[in-house]
């Protein structure tokens, strides 16, 4: 068959111009960070604030180095708890959303209870969990409770946001339920799922810390939240700040890692991961 004349080739590379403003996304936050540190230091020095009220940034940094062995161990415990909660939230949230998508009956039956879990403050549930479950399991369950709903809600939204014409096309070609899920619904829902996971990453850390605080108050514990509590009891405010700093950095790293994964999976086709045209 002869067919039509081939279209002239275009330089597809030119569709996505490189952004020479990318560096501003790094420089400005760094400038704000340095300005904040300088301001903090000036406030402490000029106000002659004692370290048990507000330690200066240098003292916090020195404490971080001096107590690194204790803090890093606690950081490892908290991160492991957050990771376990995150994996449980990711698997549970996506699996439940898939079940909801396949069966409205299941969705109507279970969604209200998922919402109940979401709207009940984890700090109120944690003491109960610590009574009914072993401590580490209870802490992971709390991290899961906080993190799983965004994954469930986003995945459900994604699975229900499939282009109607594409769904019609799959119907036309008599696609099976599995084919619709694999080739249409899951890829279409991917940006939503990744958005949910990005939220869940931070929330799993928050859930882990909240549960650790409850567990720390109830008994033994060695996570960062426990170190914060312990430091406050001992008026070791510099270590408290150092632990808080580690938590913040951990949260930022978790977010950045998930953003990187999201970018890697979407960069070829999804608007959210494409550079803006100039």
């Amino acid at each position: 068959m002869k067919g039509l004349e081939p279209l002239p080739a275009v330089d597809r590379g030119s569709v996505l111009p490189g952004s020479d403003m990318q560096w501003q996304r790094i420089v400005w936050p760094v400038v704000v960070f340095i300005a904040g540190i300088v301001l903090w230091d000036l406030v402490v020095r000029i106000g002659e604030i004692p370290p048990y009220l507000l330690p200066g940034p240098l003292l916090v940094f020195q404490t971080l180095i001096a107590d690194w062995s204790i803090l890093s161990e606690s950081l490892g415990v908290t991160l492991l708890t957050a990771l376990e909660g995150f994996i449980a939230a990711a698997v549970g949230g996506i699996a439940l959303a898939l079940l909801f998508n396949q069966s409205k009956w299941l969705e109507y039956s279970l969604l209200p209870y998922a919402i109940v879990l979401q709207v009940t403050p984890v700090i109120a549930i944690a003491p109960l969990m610590l009574i009914y479950l072993p401590q580490q399991t209870a802490v992971v369950v709390c991290a899961w409770i906080v993190a799983f709903f965004p994954v469930l809600a986003n995945t459900t939204l994604g699975l229900n946001s499939v282009d109607r014409n594409l769904a019609g096309l799959f119907q036309l070609y008599r696609a099976s339920r599995w084919q619709v899920l694999r080739y249409l619904k899951l890829p279409a829902a991917l940006p939503f799922i990744l958005g949910g996971l990005r939220i869940a990453g931070g929330l799993s850390l928050i859930g882990a810390v909240a549960a650790e605080i409850a567990a720390g108050a109830a008994g033994a514990g060695s996570g960062l939240a426990y170190r914060i509590l312990e430091s406050s009891y001992r008026l070791n405010i510099p270590r408290m700040f150092a632990a808080l700093l580690l938590l913040s950095v951990a949260g930022i790293v978790i977010y950045m890692l998930l953003a990187l994964v999201s970018h890697g999976l979407l960069r070829r086709w999804h608007e959210s991961a494409l550079r803006k045209e100039k």
Binding site: M1, G3, P6, L7, G168, L169, Y173, A175, W269, H270
Partner: protein
């Protein structure tokens, strides 16, 4: 293409609609009763104002929706070559390359990639997209996306090609080019084409027969045969014959509109 030398009644029907009506869940009567015969190899345009039920008729023929009453007989549904459908939008999967988009109907039919690749390459070459197989839809222009959509519809070698205002969103030059390309493919492949449009000029240029539909609920108001010499080209667009057909079809369309307005007045 339907052999113009044969009397119409001697050509087997590819699609037959009898007393078809469609009432949506919200009570809107979109169509009918509609009676329509389309013969094998024929290029027919369904012409009417927006919302007259043209797209509903096309979706009924495709089997995407069920009629509220009446019968829809489509010979291709029982064959191994499913119906090809081109939507108003390109309707490509943005997460897949053009090659994988075009391959989709074969994948859904469980044809292994090793076997389907040659056919995918062939159809991509037919629509002039051989060099863009590995591109993503966002990297192509509107016209190229439509070509990809057409390639996907053709990849299963369907007996019937249903096209729902496929070029409506394109600029005039691109539309003219794609009109010519579509006619070339139709002549080459001999498919039955049912083309929905609200453009008088496009329907006359492309079709062997223009079916003019009334406003909602859509019914056949008039049929105009376009008995022009083949192949049609840009010379036809500027010919007196083309202008004459456009005038006739426009009048039929106006008449269909008047019929509905009078019927509405009578009801009031």
């Amino acid at each position: 293409m339907a052999d113009p030398a044969l009397p119409l009644n001697d050509i087997p029907a590819a699609v037959r609609l009898r007393g078809v009506t469609k009432v949506y869940d919200n009570g809107t009567v979109a169509l009918g009763p509609l009676d329509l015969d389309i013969r094998k190899g024929e290029f027919v345009s369904l012409l009417g104002s927006s919302g007259c039920g043209k797209s509903t008729a096309l979706r009924l023929i495709a089997g995407l929706i069920a009629p509220s009453a009446g019968t829809v007989d489509v010979a291709a549904r029982s064959s191994d070559h499913p119906i090809g459908f081109v939507f108003q939008e390109p309707t490509l999967m943005p997460w897949s390359t053009i090659r994988e988009n075009v391959r989709l109907p074969l994948k859904l039919a469980h044809v292994p990639d090793a076997q389907s690749t040659a056919r995918v390459n062939e159809v991509l070459a037919q629509v002039g997209l051989a060099d863009f197989a590995e591109a993503y839809p966002r990297e192509l222009s509107g016209g190229m996306k439509m070509r990809a959509s057409l390639a996907r519809a053709l990849v299963t070698e369907p007996d019937i090609l249903l096209m729902d205002e496929p070029f409506a969103a394109l600029d005039e030059i691109t539309r003219f080019r794609l009109n010519n390309d579509l006619l070339a493919l139709w002549r080459e492949l001999g498919k039955t084409v049912i083309f929905v449009t609200h453009s008088v000029f496009e329907s006359v240029y492309l079709s062997q027969r223009v079916v003019v539909m009334t406003s909602r609920p859509g019914r056949v108001s008039a049929e105009c045969r376009i008995e022009s010499a083949e192949p049609r080209d840009d010379a036809f667009r500027t010919s007196m014959a083309y202008a004459g057909y456009c005038r006739d079809v426009s009048q039929a369309l106006m008449q269909a509109s008047d019929e509905m307005a009078n019927a509405a007045k009578a009801r009031a």
